[in-house]
Amino acid sequence: MDAETATAVTVAAAEQEALISGSEAVAVASRLADVDVITAYPIRPYDTMMQYVAKQIANGEQDAEYIVAESEHSQFEIAKHASAVGARALCGSSGVGWCYAFEAIAVTPALRLPLLAMVGNRALDDPGAFGTEHNDALAARDLGWMHVWVDTAQEALDVTLIAYRVAEDRRVFLPCAISTDGAFLTHSQALVKIPPRAWVDEFLPRYDRGDLRFHPDNPITIAPQVNEDWLMEIRRQTDQAMRNARGVLEEAYRDFRRIFNRDYGNPFFEEYYTDDAEIVLVGMGTLSMPVKVVIRKLRAEGQRVGFVRVRWFRPFDYERLGGLLSRFQAVGVVDRDFSMGSPYNSGVLANEIRATLYGQPKQPPVVSFITGLGGREVTIPNVREMFEHTRKAAETGASPRDTLWIGVRA
């Protein structure tokens, strides 16, 4: 038996498989990561994660301060202050709950507090809707939070561990939001490999706040008034931390592969049948399921189509993503969100992709789609339709001047 096989055998022996949802996977990760302070507030669909955590604590499987806050604002503030004293902290929300916490969300990056928040992506009601839309998490796009969209329950578990490691790295010290599509991931069960605690301990060092720790032994003043005298330098430092996160993420994924024997390839985006693809769709989250199904069907028909799933939205890997996408004859971007009045009336991701391609020597046409809002299913015919529009753009070589809404009543 060679070394690689031996490792694989150990992996198989040590990991347990369980049928759990995306929410439960985050809860399990919080147990494995020995999170110290967890703050909960009910809103669907993220709150299932907090229910699982509560059950783990009640069962004696997890040891954490579990605080049911009286609002999302307090939920995020409590986690923020726990993080300041050196405690590993977890919170989360969905939809308008995330918006209610927005003040706390806005100030956390500059305080350089590495707490994690699970976002169970949900439409911003009114009008009421429980289903997936990405506008909740994307509202915090520009504030200095790291943002990642996961696709499966396994990825939810793994990325929670990875996110703690990156967020708590002194070169980064930034909060991280883990977006999970409401219902499609939060409430869907799949077989998930649950690693043993020893592997997690090897992968994830203790959170050490060092000389920034808020403690009587370390008398510092945190977040005074800086005004125009210093704010810009502090913003620049936070910006540098986000730049640093790119390299730290690469390191973390490498180490993750070594210890857990699970390889995500490029941490920032997933490629599906891109090698010989002429056209691709780009999207985030559980959209990948119908898209991958259609790609397999179209490939069977001889069409060279592929998919790129953006995982890490902040930091955004514009260099490699730009290089990749410029190879294709056309790129269709699928937004499960909107940015009304924006260029091309498109969603948020589409304009990120346009900006990413602008610096490339070769710029394929970009077709932007908005679909699946409010949790509406993105169907197989919807995906076929989007590929057809993208194919058309490849043939004409021209980008449409507007965005196409797919799967919407006229």
């Binding site: 110290d36 307090s74 923020k80 808020f214 003043t221």
Partner: protein, 342 residues
Amino acid sequence: MDSPELATMPLPVLEPIKGVKKAPLEEYFTSGHRTCQGCESALVMKLMIKAAGPRTVVLGSTGCMYVANTTYYSTPWVVPWMHTQLGSSGSAAVGTAAGYRALMRKGKIKKEPINVISFCGDIGGADMGLSAISAALQHVDYNHLILLYDNESAANTDIQATGSTPYGAVTTFSPTGPAKRIFHTRWKKNTAAMLAAGHPECRYVATVCASYAVDFMNRVRRALTIGGPTFIHSFDPCPKGWDYDPMLSHELGELAVLTGIWPLFEVEDHTLRLYGKSKAIAEGRQKRLPVRDYLLKQGRFAHFTEDDIDYFQAKIDDMWTQWLIPGVLPFAAEVLNDTPPA
């Protein structure tokens, strides 16, 4: 009533201070701030942390005591200090105390008493932050003190009316003019009594006034040593916001108590007691001074007519003659006289 784990979290030993000459000499709120001349809230900070001592961390929500105290590269705080958001004094206290508790319980840091004090102004505490403070006072596992310094306006921003601004006072959001002589018609919120009555597991709530410095420091010490979440409401005259000569801050604090406008009381383990001059008033040993003596020293009431003064006086008289508990609970006693159903 202690939760089983409370006993495992160590509490500080802070003996009552017997007279001003016995107060600790050490200062932990020192130079480096730029509060106004005569700022009573700066004195409140100084006495608060003098009483609490060096094994303390302080969280300050947005307001005068944030903006005027802590300008980058300069801080008056010898102990650790951290800003928190305007409505977050309750959450900052809970998060900090919960963080220490988790780390101590898991053996990640040394188990020792650490005082957690979170302060807020009146708009941060009695208005925006009320729900977070309410929740904080329910989490009995966490030891901390929330101190509300009440200068009866958003004094740092530009003197705007809040839920703690007294009836009729001029602020930049409640000016006086020919069409509206009295703009601010809300009666001041009864915050401390509301929090004491509404949170039966909270072991200590008090009102204080820094004009009575030793009483003030001893209330802080009681709040920090009793265990669990506690709340203190401090009455802070503000020369800028109330429009008076800065030399009168101390005197106006005394007058607020002596006129009966600001009753000094504490609720300790479900027992209410008035203390200091307020106790003397309730027991008839001290005659309440007319509110006129207090109101007319301040520019914010300069537009008051005789009728306005009479109205204010009548409301204060009610506090001491009609309320179920004088100066504390504003209910009529009728229910006590009802005949129980047969």
